[in-house]
Assembly symmetry: C2
């Protein structure tokens, strides 16, 4: 038992995970769940990797705007691009959703899917977190990597269900989390199959297809997976409905919230520029959801600490 | 070797499948494909089960209209419902896509996803093919079941990529084809997460989300799976772009078309009310796609023959 989840301190959270898994894998037990139904869904930003001070994908957007500015000189005088190029992110986002969407489409659409994958891989190979100076792909939570492995070792199928862009995640999550591309659900834009120079390609279009957050998460789970998870993991109110949907079933289920409480080793916040943990935290005790206190429950947060 | 694909006669088609699989599983061979990349996509109607004289889902729509007419008496005087209730399907579909969509939405939307699943299961438990009088789930092609098993035994991950409704397929394809719900891609309508009597539910809305046919198939493959298949199986021009996308990659790939040539044991047609095999058949020799002649290549078509 001491080998299981080694980065988790002994405590209520770790024990709740071990107990839940023991119950659902016990054949002939009252809570046995057949392997095929052992679906576990994980939010990504703030649950599997760091989302502070800003989503990694937002850093990607801003970096790409700077890179592409040479080919788009009018951006220097056109908002929200001009503010990004001046480094004034607050002003860039003053137009809120509309401005953000313009920045996303300028950096995420117009190329083929293969081209976009290459852009993401190239960027992630060198892009660093502004505070820790670590690669973003090093800013993943070691206890959650162990949890993913532990669940899979008991025949759970692990999925990401994130508000982030699905094609932004797929190029690296298999290597980093062991989650294959077909088990990644995220927000998406429309695409079109066409021929370019005689070769079939899939082109990314500047139009939102699906926003995978809040009420969108259970709807997406049903749409992409087609069965209800028995375990769901999140860290904010964006995950509230996914947790509700997962744990409303009368069968055994586990809902878990990662709470960012460690200002020394990571960042301490319930509310950030990226979202907040409020309603889900209030509902947690009634719903029986486990709340992980990162400072108390995690012996180690990042692999690079050791 | 004789145990492999026993319902396939020895011939070019069977040999092409065996050769392809042998090449991609040979470690250190020039065409080796790692297990994780062994993605195979199958059309459903006309490729895995019978689509003649009409898609099974169309029979479902017409049966449901009749069942629901008692609660919707105005349908008796309102097209396209009135024609369906009179048994005049030709007149019912005279309005073409618009009329068909009205019939689909009247029978596929308004309920929760759990309720719709139960409706489909109940219907399939007794609904029979009008010509053979067999259950629709018995109208599956035995050689294709063997092919699915054979590919999976070599670590292929098998997906359905069908124009049919995804939630119409999921309730039965795991039992019939061994394909789990999360590996089924199809056409879909919008849904909404909400609370009914305090319980979270997902409600099906009468609005198309995605039509998974023709150019939509490769786009859907990229959207849902996130990697290019190395093998694709279809039977009509609705599968043309999926075949093109799959076999355009410079790596090893297999494209295969099931051609309906057996008027005795099944039905002989290239063109039906449901679609046609025309451009894909013309392209097949140039592209190196295998064309299965059901009459010649299949020793047995349905399990109930024996």
């Amino acid at each position: 038992m001491t080998d299981l989840l080694p980065s988790w301190n002994n405590g209520i959270a770790r024990q709740a995970i071990l107990d839940f898994v023991a119950r659902v894998i016990t054949e002939n037990g009252p809570d046995f769940v057949p392997p095929a139904d052992r679906i576990a869904t994980f939010d990504n930003d703030g649950t599997l990797w760091c989302e502070y001070p800003m989503y990694v994908q937002a850093f990607f957007v801003f970096d790409r705007i700077k890179t592409l500015a040479a080919q788009n000189p009018h951006w220097y005088t056109q908002e929200p691009f001009a503010s990004v190029l001046k480094g004034d992110l607050k002003a860039a986002l003053a137009g809120e959703e509309h401005a953000l969407m313009e920045l996303v489409m300028a950096t995420h659409a117009g190329m083929t899917t293969d081209e976009f994958t290459a852009i993401v891989k190239d960027w992630l190979a060198t892009a660093k977190h502004p505070i820790t100076q670590k690669l973003f792909t090093e800013m993943v939570y070691q206890p959650m990597l162990e949890l993913l492995d532990y669940l899979r070792s008991h025949d759970f199928k692990t999925f990401i269900v994130s508000g982030g862009g699905v094609e932004f995640m797929r190029p690296w999550v298999e290597r980093v989390y062991g989650i294959p591309p077909e088990q990644v659900i995220g927000s998406s834009i429309k695409t079109r199959f066409e021929r370019r120079e005689g070769k079939p390609v899939i082109v990314r279009l500047p139009e939102l297809l699906f926003f995978d957050d809040k009420e969108g998460k259970p709807a997406a789970i049903q749409h992409y997976i087609g069965r209800r998870p028995i375990a769901a993991f999140g860290n904010s109110d964006g995950d509230l409905q996914m947790l509700q949907w997962t744990t409303a079933d009368p069968g055994p289920s586990l809902g878990l919230i990662v709470r960012h409480t460690d200002g020394d080793r990571e960042f301490a916040y319930d509310k950030s520029a990226m979202g907040s943990l409020d309603v889900a935290l209030t509902e947690a005790p009634q719903q029986g959801w486990v709340v992980v206190d990162m400072k108390q429950d995690w012996r180690q947060i990042f692999a690079f600490e050791s």
